[in-house]
């Protein structure tokens, strides 16, 4: 127990990959610069550098030890400068176990220990330990320590509420994911960069061939590319959320997900600030939603949109049953919303159209032939502005507040009075004349930052109602 332990030797590989990734640009740059005469020297230098890197990787592994002493995790590391980091058990917010592709070959996991400290990256990280060891570390460092282990045995008897996403649903989630657009953008960006690497004559010939061939062929190619991108989107969702399972233990949620990289994370219930229901534009007509939570502290996962997904894809009608099992206090009726007053509509429409006025003028002036592009965009914006207006609303049920709004996706947030950090009411001149007010609610977000929800152009009476609800004064 108190004996310092090393990571699994596979950690050397991870160290090596990490260092290599940081230095890869220098190597590629060198490769391009020394392509000519001094290429031999470059290869030689590269070999030396590689040997050096491998040595550093091994030393890093050799010097990295950890042990659990009483209520602390003690990590010692550093090749030349010896560094020690002690993390007290009481300060640990969450312990995540992740297994990437390489991890899974060796049956290993990465243990990430997060405290409340701000900043990105976990405070303590064991890059590669065996699964059994990872679970041992986690159970030792859990807040309740010994009790927890006893609990684990008892808990087997009553079934814990647990939900797993079905393959069919996940497939549907992938095929309706908005990431298609993002991948498309990347694809075009990549293509425009690719030009530089393809020999010019080849590129020109291909281009001439494409232009020479019939319109149907071009359209056909376009459709094939789109279908491919769509399939990529499905694969991405499958890999990220494959085998998604959420289980409720007595005071925490336990989430396992990932097809290639397996990720297990624990969310203490007390850290959940609000629960949200997202209806994306594509999924809304199908009646599917994503349920997520705003969790205080913790680390903003790169690539994720800062919120913790509680369930990637479910029917809207199932949400309350789901929340009833997982987070009973958030299972509230979301139907009778107080809508925005009709006089707010014009603000929403104007706000949606305003950014397009300048491009419209520019297109009309410079290339009047293409005037239909901004016109179509303006019609779309008008529709979105109206949809935003229609989505906006709130509902108060005792000490629980439901706020609904839309940017592109319709989002319904459920939050409790005790979670609200500040309430703001804003009015400009026009608002004052028309008895409208904009309202902003703040709760705690990830990494010590705030998360703010703005409801624009409520009726003043409604805004004041909300203010009274938020107020602690008698």
């Amino acid at each position: 127990m108190s004996k310092p332990q090393r990571l699994h030797p596979a950690a050397i590989i991870f160290n090596f990959i990490r260092i290599l990734r940081e230095g890869i640009y220098a190597i590629i740059l060198g490769f391009i610069t020394f392509r000519g005469v001094s290429f031999m020297y470059f290869i030689l230098a590269l070999a030396v550098i590689l040997i050096l890197l491998i040595t550093i990787s091994i030393l890093t592994w050799y010097r990295f030890t950890y042990r659990i002493v009483e209520d602390e995790l003690r990590i010692e590391y550093g090749i030349f400068v010896k560094k020690k980091r002690f993390i007290s058990k009481n300060r640990i917010q969450s312990i995540d176990l992740t297994a990437g592709v390489i991890h899974r070959i060796f049956k290993l996991v990465k243990v990430e220990i997060e405290t409340a400290g701000s900043g990105s990256g976990a405070e303590g990280s064991l890059k590669a330990v065996t699964l059994a060891e990872g679970e041992r570390v986690r159970s030792k460092l859990k807040k309740t320590g010994l009790e927890q282990e006893e609990m684990d045995m008892e808990v087997e008897i009553p079934p814990q509420p647990s939900f797993t996403v079905s393959f069919k649903r996940l497939f549907l989630a992938g095929s309706t994911s908005g990431s298609v657009g993002i991948i498309l953008a990347f694809f075009f960006f990549g293509f425009s960069q690719l030009e530089q690497f393809i020999p010019e004559s080849y590129y020109k010939n291909t281009l001439a061939w494409i232009i020479g061939s019939s319109i149907t062929l071009i359209i056909g190619l376009g459709i094939i590319v789109l279908v491919l991108l769509w399939l990529f989107g499905i694969a991405g969702t499958m890999i990220k959320y494959g085998n998604f399972t959420i289980t409720k233990n007595d005071n925490e949620l336990f989430i396992t997900r990932g097809l290639l990289e397996k990720k297990q994370s624990t969310i203490p219930l007390s850290r959940i600030q609000a629960v949200g229901i997202q209806e994306s534009m594509i999924r809304q007509p199908l009646g599917y939603v994503t349920v997520f939570a705003e969790v205080a502290g913790g680390v903003a996962n790169k690539g994720d949109d800062f919120s913790t997904v509680l369930f990637p894809m479910m029917k809207k009608a199932e949400v309350n049953a789901f929340l009833g099992e997982i987070l009973p206090e958030y299972a509230v009726q979301q139907d009778e919303m107080t809508a925005l007053p009709g006089r707010a509509q014009k603000y929403y429409v104007i706000r949606a159209l305003l950014p397009l006025l300048l491009p419209l003028a520019a297109v009309l002036y410079f290339i009047p032939r293409f005037f239909w592009i901004p016109v179509i965009l303006m019609i779309l914006s008008w529709v979105i502005g109206n949809l935003r207006f229609r989505a906006g609303g709130y509902h108060i049920a005792d000490d629980c507040l439901i706020v609904r709004y839309r940017t592109f996706n319709k989002i319904t947030m459920i939050m409790y009075h005790k979670r609200i950090q500040a309430f703001e009411r804003m009015q400009h001149l026009m608002h004052r004349k028309e008895d409208l007010a904009t309202v902003k609610l703040s709760i705690i977000g990830v990494s010590g930052s705030g998360k703010h929800y703005t409801l624009k152009e409520l009726a003043v009476a409604d805004a004041d109602q909300l203010a009274d609800w938020c107020s602690y004064r008698d």
Partner: protein
Amino acid sequence: MAIMRYDGQDKKSGGIKMRQPPANTIARDAIKAWKITSAIFIGVLWLLTIAWFIVTMVFSFLYWYVTIAVIVCLLFTYVFVFLLPKLRWRRWRYEVFDQEIYIQHGILIVSRTLVPMIRVQHVDTKQGPILRKFQLASVTISTAATTHEIPALLETDASDLRDRISTLARVDEDDV
């Protein structure tokens, strides 16, 4: 804590707690302090314009542009040095209750904020060289999600306020 129960009856009457602006204004000298601060920034603008004017004279460029620049400078001086500080002061109000802090500010967009006392994490007082000249200080109130500043209070008021808020905020939280 007292939570308003909403029964859906008095909906159209609206709330009452935010209908009135907060009671206290900030120190009158804030106007002078703000005037000096913006005068410094506008002064830089004037210097640039004068430099431009000299360049125009020496190389006999067109006087058109520099004339426009001078007019813009004059306008900015009026708006930022003479007009806005007064308006800003008139709008700035605050009130500290036992349970919460109530702040109003903003010239074009009037914003009223409620900060629950038990959500306050820490309070700071701050004083730059210009505020010090007028024996003023600003108070910054931080929650886990937001920061709010009451600018330019009399030094004694600011430290009293800081102490008061920090005492009131010293309530055990159930959980975060």
